[in-house]
């Protein structure tokens, strides 16, 4: 199973990025091999619909669990349609949150924000 966290840097000491859709990287843990991988979020530079593209990117990587401080409604819809589960992170360390999740200490993320889309024309 693969678990993804939006992160600021591509090293294991990285902090979590507060934006799910426009985070620069995702840190992904494979729970079978216990290996970590970092992927560049190609959606970050999108003019619009970044969250949708970011969610698609994770689906294409077969991610099943996302740990994130927050998530917009469009990304949440894409992830939910693929039965990806969302959990709310605690504190800033990405690494600690993988542990917290595996110990069952993270709560499901339920308050999905309406997103920052729809501005301009």
């Amino acid at each position: 199973m693969k678990i993804a966290v939006p992160v600021n840097d591509n090293n294991t000491k990285t902090e979590i990025c507060p934006s799910f859709g426009r985070t620069p990287f995702y840190m992904i843990k494979d729970t079978v091999s216990n290996a970590f991988d970092f992927i560049v979020n190609e959606a970050a530079e999108s003019i619009g619909g970044a969250g949708i593209k970011a969610a698609q990117l994770l689906l294409d990587k077969n991610v099943e669990i996302v740990l994130t401080p927050r998530c917009g409604e469009n990304s949440a819809k894409v992830l939910a349609d693929a039965s990806v589960k969302l959990y709310r992170t605690q504190g800033n360390s990405a690494m600690e949150n993988f542990d917290l999740y595996e110990k069952g200490k993270l709560e499901p993320l339920t308050n999905i924000h309406p997103g920052f889309h729809g501005h301009g024309g």
Partner: protein
């Protein structure tokens, strides 16, 4: 063919509608186009008799789930990220820009276009003025398709056209001024007003449109918008004073040149300058 004059400003509430409504009525015959589709209010002054109302639609993709194989070619193609593929294809209507690309690219022909209602356009008449008003459905993201429809109606117009633009300098404003022959920039006598005037003036320069400024709500005090005009060599066509009589008429939905406003010559004088500029 008569000229099209766009009336615009960097912020809301500066007097775009005041200026365009009065100019349209002052002209012997004119067309007033309300492109401020998120909050059209010119009709509150004109109280036009509606002669035609039409619904405006944009095209969005609809999926035949039996034909879709999940190849994701459409998802990769969509530059607006309006499509995603989870267990099946998801379309985000409000993100879609109606480009039709996904329909063209689908190898299975699983995508077709369907209409989505986004607002209305009403054509009406008020004395010597023909009014055309666009109204975007609340919650819709972009008024651009409605503005295109509005301006298409006056493409070959023989009379003078006044385009009441949305506030700001974003896509809807660019669409509104694209066909204009002349731009009238309305500005308030504040630092904030002059900052917004500067933004909209930058836009006019990009579009290389001839323009002039109307200073609204002027007082005896220092006017940062006037200073901006002098510094940049922008012609000031008129100064409309901060005036209780005009304020009361306007807030009661009355058009100054239609009423007994003591300074209505301000608008006739402005109209003469505009006519001269577009001759």
């Amino acid at each position: 063919m008569a000229a099209k004059i766009a009336v615009l400003s960097g912020k809301g509430g500066t007097g775009k509608t005041l200026v365009s409504v009065n100019l349209a009525l002052a002209a012997n015959k004119a067309v007033y186009v309300d492109c401020d589709v998120e909050e059209p209010n010119g009709h509150l002054f004109f109280k036009p008799t509606t002669i035609k109302k039409e619904d405006i639609f944009v095209k969005i993709p609809s999926i035949d789930k039996n034909l879709c194989t999940g190849c994701k070619k459409c998802v990769e193609f969509c530059k607006f990220n309006a499509l995603a593929y989870a267990k099946e294809l998801i379309v985000f209507d409000e993100v879609c820009h109606s480009c039709g690309g996904c329909v063209m690219i689908c190898p299975q022909k699983a995508l077709n276009e369907k209409d989505k209602f986004i607002g209305t356009v009403k054509t009406g008449i008020s004395e010597n003025v023909k009014t055309i008003t666009g109204e975007l459905k609340t919650g819709e993201a972009s008024g651009v398709p409605i503005i295109k429809n509005l301006l298409n109606k006056v493409k070959d117009e023989k009379e003078l056209v006044f385009i009441d633009c949305p506030p700001g300098s974003a896509c809807t404003v660019m669409e509104s001024i694209a066909d204009a022959d002349f731009c009238l920039l309305v500005a308030e006598p504040t630092v904030f007003g002059s900052h917004n005037l500067e933004m909209v003036y930058e836009l006019i320069k990009v579009f290389k449109k001839p323009c002039a400024v109307v200073l609204n709500k002027t007082t005896q005090e220092k006017n940062p918008s006037e200073e901006f005009c002098i510094k940049n060599g922008i012609i000031i066509f008129q100064k409309i004073p901060f005036d209780q009589e005009l304020g009361e008429l306007n807030s009661n939905g009355k058009i100054a040149v239609r009423e007994n406003y003591s300074k209505k010559s301000l608008f006739y004088d402005l109209l003469d300058k505009v006519r001269e500029a577009v001759k």
